[in-house]
């Protein structure tokens, strides 16, 4: 028996078309999920090293994947050139001043390729250069307020890596410290703590003694000395210091005056000489007088030296004169007694006073 399905060809055709349609829809859905039909915007940047970068690496913004690295290569200046895309749905974030940043995890738990949108108003066109945040251009953008880099919270692994050795050290230190405090520990810290303890005890005794001495309740030589010192200080403060202060003030005033006067006198163009002798005539007159006195003194000096040489002759002359006077007295007496000469005395010849030699003297 032979079966025949009516419209079999049509049914097969419809099923085939349906299958194709489903395939197309699935492809479309898959494609849209994989962004096969979406327009991506291409950008590029440069890095010093390709470490931490890989093709296909996601570009993230606030945890969302907004793009991918497409190619990595070296440029003519040996810089690593990275080209990446940003999905069309996020294109409106790519504003003037945007930068990218690569964060390399120190313990290799995954690197991050981050995008920081700029604060500008216009969008960066497709194919443009977007600088790295740590490049000079990126830093200049940060500095001029074009972009704000938020504080990162992805340093936990970094912190954990540093915390463990730190905690170990702290534990060791605390163990040593506890032992030293209890007095059961060994080593330099424990010894130091013991010494410190005895020193503190001594210091405590000393402090109480000093306190007693200071507040006057203490006994012993220190307390007595301090009491005496206190009395002396009171006296010094009350009387002596007041007097000294007054004297010092007077002396300071005098010194100041002297200083001012000496400085004024010292200055040849100063006020004091100008007040006394404004046009300098007095100074000149004094100078002339002094010169005259000087020349006179010189003459006197010369005369005195000449006189000094003549002193013996003058002495001899005076002696001769005395002798002559005595003889003259005798002669006058003889004449007075002579009866032949009672009519008077003949005129005497006056000797030349300039003559200095006794031989020229006539009687």
């Amino acid at each position: 028996m032979k079966f025949k399905i009516r419209y079999a060809d049509q049914i097969v055709g419809i099923l085939a078309i349906l299958a194709i349609l489903i395939l197309v829809v699935v492809i479309f859905l898959l494609g849209s999920k994989q962004r096969w039909f979406a327009k991506d915007y291409k950008y590029n940047s440069t890095f010093e090293s390709a470490t931490g970068l890989s093709v296909g690496m996601a570009l993230q913004y606030k945890g969302f994947t907004i793009g991918k690295i497409k190619t990595i290569g070296l440029d003519d200046e040996n810089l690593v050139e990275v080209s990446f895309t940003i999905f069309d749905t996020y294109y409106n974030r790519v504003k003037e001043g945007s930068v990218i940043e690569l964060i390399i995890n120190p313990i290799g738990l995954g690197n991050s390729f981050l995008f920081h949108p700029g604060n500008g108003s216009s969008l960066i066109p497709d194919g443009s250069f977007i600088p790295r945040a740590d490049s000079p251009e990126g830093l200049a953008l940060i500095d001029s307020g074009q972009v704000t880099i938020p504080k990162r919270d992805d340093t936990i692994t970094n912190v954990i890596a540093q915390v463990n050795p730190l905690l170990t050290n702290i534990n060791e230190t605390l163990a040593q410290l506890n032992g030293a405090i209890k007095g059961t520990g060994k080593g330099p810290l424990a010894d130091t703590m013991k010494n410190l303890s005895s020193t503190m005890s001594n210091v405590s005794d000393l402090t109480s003694s000093v306190n007693g001495a200071i507040d006057g309740t203490g006994r012993g030589p220190l307390a007595k000395s301090l009491n005496n010192v206190s009395d002396i200080t009171t006296n010094v403060n009350d009387k002596l210091l007041v007097e000294i202060n007054s004297e010092i003030a007077s002396v300071q005033a005098i010194t100041k005056n002297f200083e001012e006067l000496s400085s004024k006198l010292k200055d040849p163009t100063g006020l004091v000489p100008k007040l006394i002798d404004p046009d300098g005539s007095m100074f000149k007159s004094i100078e002339t007088s002094i010169k005259s006195v000087e020349s006179t003194l010189s003459n006197v000096e010369d005369s005195s030296s000449i006189l000094k040489g003549q002193v013996p002759q003058i002495a001899q002359l005076i002696q001769n004169l005395q002798v002559a006077l005595l003889r003259g007295q005798d002669v006058l007496e003889a004449l007075r007694n002579n009866p032949l000469l009672k009519n008077g005395v003949q005129d005497k010849v006056n000797p030349d006073s300039s003559g200095t030699n006794s031989r020229n003297i006539e009687f």
Partner: protein
Amino acid sequence: MYKPIIELKDAAFSAQDKDVIREFSYQFEEGKTTALIGPSGGGKSTVLKLAAGLIVPTEGEVYYRGRGISTMTRAQNMKFRKESSFVFQDSALWANQTLRQILELPLKTHFPKMTATQRTERIVQILAETGYKKDLDIRPSQLSMGEQKLIAFARSMVCEPKLMFLDEWTESLDDGSARRLIDLVKKQREQARTIIFVSHNFRVIKELAQTICMIIDGRLSLIISAEEIATNDGLAKMIEKGIAQ
């Protein structure tokens, strides 16, 4: 109560398993000019970038007017950026933009209400002060190193910041241009702006710095006042020799 404009508190910075900065604490006084000096590779530029909040310390914190930079809100961060500026050692001009765009960008960001005419006026004024005379519609690659430095300096001044960070900003400039920029910094100093700079040029340090911090091997080794440099020849020679390394 006294509050420093910038404070680094126990700041440390490590990169590639190397400690670049270690236990760095210093308070930068407002209105003062401070020079960071020291041998090459000692960490001067890193300290400058830490102070400017461009990099985050791996330990410790950096404070701007008492507020931790890394914990600032976006608005506080924008205010800090508006009030501060940084001149980079290698100019760091944006290669894909014209000079006009480069100079306009900070103005657009921090003064959104400013009109295009006002922006142009400000740019022209600042370029006249720096002495740049070429076209504005060219890209940085068409400029010499010295001209790039002038534009970088102009960009840092365009928003009239209260705090300036300068990283070897007179190097590779001719004498005339360097002189002009030094005079401009002097002018900023007279307006009580805070300036923190890195330089290897003793003449610049002596002329501008009020306080000098010597950084050796990532640590703050010496703090010297300008008066000490002026009065102590031996110290001045030691500093000159130290920064020449």
